[in-house]
């Protein structure tokens, strides 16, 4: 689905991405985890074709691909109503728009039907991001790119949406590419993790083996997750 070979990107005399290699097979899921400044945004721009690499190449299967961005306000045309935003991809594809499917999904995402006729500025951040995620999955894509898609959601919404996408992944054999700084979401959603630090992939491992991480930076990331203090307060 996505193959990146020896990718380098220079920005103003400095290399922001160095020797990135990546191979995402169909039906698998990969999370690219890194802090801000690590190069995640640059990488996602290269993958989506918004920017061109300095060296190396990207092969991506554009059939039935969809994307959810971090900045939800910027992801929707402020002049379109919600229903127009959701219907936009359907003009292209040969899939027909199903109202029942839409209603089901609205319930799952906890969005009321009255939102359909409203404009983006009338929705809260959480609602708008859910609409963007809904837009991305309505067309039943086979490849979903999530570019920091959950960062703007509060914890309970995040948890619900992640659970839903997980079930979608199983049902529809969705290939997922997640770019995030949140290690918890990455472990929930994806089977493989690559850690990005200062433009380089410093570690690649299977999510289940996270405990055996070797790299210093990975260990730092793992440590920085603040756990719920339930177990301790129980004692």
């Amino acid at each position: 689905m996505l193959k990146i070979k020896n990718l380098w990107k220079k920005y103003k005399k400095e290399f922001v991405l160095k020797e990135i290699n990546l191979n995402l097979q169909k039906n698998s899921s990969l999370a690219l985890v890194g802090e801000s400044g690590a190069g995640k945004t640059t990488l996602s721009r290269l993958i989506l074709g918004i920017d061109t690499p300095t060296k190396g190449n990207i092969n991506i299967d554009k059939n039935s691909m969809s994307v959810v961005f971090q900045d939800y306000r910027n992801s929707v045309n402020p002049l379109f109503t919600i229903i127009e935003i959701l219907k936009e991809p359907f003009g292209l594809r040969k899939i027909t728009f199903s109202n029942e499917k839409l209603e089901d999904l609205l319930k799952t995402f906890n969005l009321s039907k009255s939102l359909l006729d409203k404009y983006p500025h009338e929705l809260s951040g959480g609602q708008l991001q859910r609409v963007c995620i809904l837009r991305a999955i309505l067309t039943k894509p086979s490849f979903l790119i999530l570019d920091e898609a959950f960062s703007a959601l509060d914890v309970s919404t995040k948890s619900q949406v992640v659970t839903y996408i997980k079930s979608l992944k199983k049902e529809q054999n969705l290939t997922i590419f997640l770019i995030t700084h949140d290690l918890e979401v990455a472990t929930s959603l994806c089977e493989n993790i690559k850690i990005l630090f200062k433009g380089e992939v410093v570690e690649s491992l299977k999510t289940k083996c996270l405990g055996q991480a070797q790299n210093q930076y990975t260990k730092l990331l793992i440590d920085s997750i603040i756990p719920l203090k339930i177990k301790e307060t129980n004692e």
Partner: protein, 256 residues
């Protein structure tokens, strides 16, 4: 004697008759950290803005807020003398046209010489964990990362030297490493009363002594941290805790 007391605070939108805060009563002890949790839209930010006197004029306020038994609801002098604020998105809090130096100095209103003010700035910048402070002072907001800007904002709040800090989602826009460091900075502040608003229960559990849970503009639970996580009877709180657990449990299991 209660330090900061909010009594039966209600806010209604005059035009739409929508109730934005419904009968909120909170007691805050001095030099403790209070966590305010709730989903987006529950009224957390509005509560902070009300305490600070920053709400738009089309909203109708009922109720009382007192500090040491003095009414502060619309008393901007007392608010200015006792409160300072840390906001969510640091990039929006700075004027993109001026250097950090200018903006920090501008916020120190005491009658000291520029040199002394600069010393104070550098002292607090170091306190929030920033290195190469002189370089940071010379930079413009867009040249610094989100984490750095948020720390500068905390430093500015600290230079004000007020007793009460209101932090509205101070780490939401940050990545985990920065988040942990900043929360630790807040935790280690001495002699300050902090009201921290967040939707992240884990974060609040780490730092707050007491927690208030807001849902749909109402207070659904008020208790100390231990009780919230072990003994809560409230369904909504249980729901919040369980969704948080949901996210963490896979992560935890992978670490084994």
């Amino acid at each position: 004697m209660r330090y900061l007391k909010i009594e039966n605070l209600s806010i209604k939108d005059n035009k739409t008759n929508e109730i934005l805060l419904d009968d909120i009563s909170i007691d805050i002890e001095e030099n403790t950290i209070l966590g305010v949790v709730g989903e987006s839209g529950s009224g957390k930010s509005l509560l902070c803005k009300t305490i600070l006197g920053l709400i738009p004029s089309n909203l109708n306020i009922e109720g009382k807020i007192t500090l040491n038994n003095k009414d502060i609801l619309n008393n901007s002098k007392i608010i200015k003398d006792n409160f300072c604020v840390i906001l969510q998105e640091a990039i929006n809090a700075f004027n993109p046209l001026y250097t950090i130096n200018y903006q920090m100095l501008e916020s120190i209103k005491t009658k000291q010489s520029k040199k002394e003010k600069l010393k104070i700035c550098i002292k607090y910048l170091r306190k929030v964990g920033l290195k190469r402070c002189s370089k940071i002072l010379k930079s413009y907001p867009h040249e610094l990362s989100g984490g750095q800007l948020q720390r500068v904002m905390i430093a500015i709040a600290l230079t004000q030297n007020r007793k009460i800090i209101i932090a509205d989602e101070p780490t939401s826009s940050l990545d985990s490493i920065n988040q942990k460091e900043i929360i630790n900075i807040l935790k280690n502040l001495k002699d300050k009363t902090i009201i921290i608003v967040s939707h992240d229960l884990a974060l609040i559990s780490h730092i707050a002594k007491d927690i208030i849970v807001l849902k749909d503009s109402k207070v659904v639970e008020k208790a100390d941290t231990k009780t919230i996580f072990t003994n809560t009877k409230n369904e909504y709180t249980k729901f919040l805790v369980s969704t948080q657990e949901n996210l963490s449990k896979e992560f935890m299991s992978c670490l084994k």
